[in-house]
Amino acid sequence: MNFRVKCCGLQFENPLVLASGYLGVTGASLANVAKNGAGGVTSKTLFMEERAGYPNPTSLTFPGGLINAMGLSGEGIRNAKAEFETYRNLAPDCPILGSVGGKTLKELVECAEIMDTYPVDLIELNLSCPSGADEKELPFSCDPDITAKITRAVRKVTRKPISVKLSPKAYRIGEIAQRAEAEGADAITAVNGMGPGMLIDIRMRAPSLGNKVGDVSGQALKPIALGCVYEIYEHVKIPIIGTGGIVNGNDAIEMLMAGATLLGIGSAIAYYDLKAFAMIQEKIKRFMEEEGFKDISDLVGIAHKR
């Protein structure tokens, strides 16, 4: 049975890739996730400047998923070089995706240019975080023209593969993915969290998150993420990193069938800790055995054939 995935010219031992924003602050942490069975890892999104992020609580679970408002904390891309070098030394064979963001197109391109010089295998453009928003407070990736413009600009500054991370808030997400593909994107990461959402603590009589509102992920996001990935698959030929609400093996198989080549794993860690990687892999393998699949790639997009 083949469980390896070739994507954007990179070899992944398995399709499970740590999603951006989870355990991605340090190189040693990312390497620890690789050691625990991830086929690839994604760094936290880095911006030009250092940011402390929002006050706590920044990340909470609720029945039905997770909500977070980290506030894009990060040490700033120039300070982060050592983390990528540490990762490369500790996990030389496990691909790493370097995530970059920006409040403006210029900042994002500059970050990508710096990320290009780091030992990362692929650059993920976070065009979907609410903090990297246009004047309408919408993520860049909600606008097909802005998405195309940024992808084009980044394509000029790096020869590394680029994946464009989209927001589930986008209207006609398939067409936006298509625009990114036309401008030279090598993959689409779909999707980021949805929101803004809120939890209210009724006894404390206050919103539960420090920032009051945040993005929802986990089980609540899964059907939306599946819908997005399914639609994107109908519009593009480049691979999709399907992310959003994959908590167990069943979710992972659904995401593959919707059209994802790689699977972003994040919220599963909240429920099953780092064992999530081994657990989900085992479940996919058992399913493949039971259903007679010989290659993981045979599952990709299979739900479109009926």
Binding site: L23, A52, M70
Partner: protein, 262 residues
């Protein structure tokens, strides 16, 4: 999800340290921590300093925005949001006869809770308390009340590093099964090294900037293994800790940037 816990009692230990007492059984074990939330301000990790079926103690030192706001705003009867317990507790192996606890300043609370459990198991407990001055030594009476032998290093004319010297001498006596410490990291480095030199196991409670508290965000990960202090710790064996390149040298801010330890 937070538990909305009403403050039942507040003990003023000194001008910058208070014990907040709640009538609640969080089912915490010694060494575990809770996230304590003051809405509109922040949420910070705090060791559980005592837990029995009636009461939970959380010792809070006034040193940042959130703890200062708690000192200023929270009175008896007010609520704090509490999540937890989180993290790995101290390991108190069956069969231990004698243990030494080394508490540095405001790192002392989890050791009080540990002393309670050790004394309930009939172990001999020696507690060495260090602090920058005598009024900053915590819980001396409570340790004594549990039947621990208490050595207050600050009363030995409060010389810096004296707790370590006393600890080193007490290790020479032998027959110590395990050493437990919580306090400034550079102190814990010395405690772990001295224990190791004497062939005795040690357990340390580490502190790092925490955000989620349950092992997903990666903010508190420590170099070289990338272990999460909130989930894989906060208690680490001395052997583990001494093998970490970060331990005793640097920590990280809320942005993730490295800063040297004081």
């Amino acid at each position: 999800m937070h538990l909305p816990l009403k403050v039942h009692r507040i003990r003023e230990e000194n001008s910058t340290f208070r014990t907040y007492i709640f009538k609640h059984d969080l089912r915490a074990k010694p060494g575990q921590f809770a996230m304590v939330w003051l809405p509109g301000v922040d949420e910070v990790p705090m060791s559980v300093g005592w837990q029995d079926k009636d009461e939970m103690w959380i010792g809070i030192s006034k040193r940042g925005d959130c703890t200062t706001a708690i000192f200023d705003q929270i009175k008896i009867g007010d609520r704090l949001g509490v999540r937890g317990p989180f993290g790995k507790p101290f390991e108190l192996k069956e069969g231990y006869k004698k243990i030494i606890l080394v508490g540095g300043g405001y790192g002392t609370p989890p050791l009080l809770f540990l002393a309670k459990e050790a004394r309930e198991k009939g172990m001999e407990v020696v507690v060495i308390l260090g602090a920058r001055s005598p009024e900053h030594v915590l819980y001396e009476k409570e340790f004594a009340g549990l039947g621990c032998e208490v050595v207050n290093s600050a009363n030995h004319n409060g010389k810096k590093g004296h707790a370590i010297e006393i600890f080193a001498e007490r290790m020479e006596d032998g027959k110590v099964d395990c050493v437990y410490t919580c306090g400034p990291e550079k102190m814990m480095v010395k405690v772990a090294e001295i224990a190791q030199k004497n062939g005795v196991d040690s357990q340390l409670s580490l502190e790092r900037h925490m955000k989620c508290g349950f092992g997903i965000c990666g903010q508190c990960c420590i170099d070289g293994t990338g272990a999460r202090v909130c989930k894989d710790g906060p208690v680490f064996s001395g052997k583990q800790a001494l093998s970490l390149e970060e331990f005793g040298h640097y920590t990280r801010t809320g942005s993730g940037k490295r800063i040297a330890l004081e």
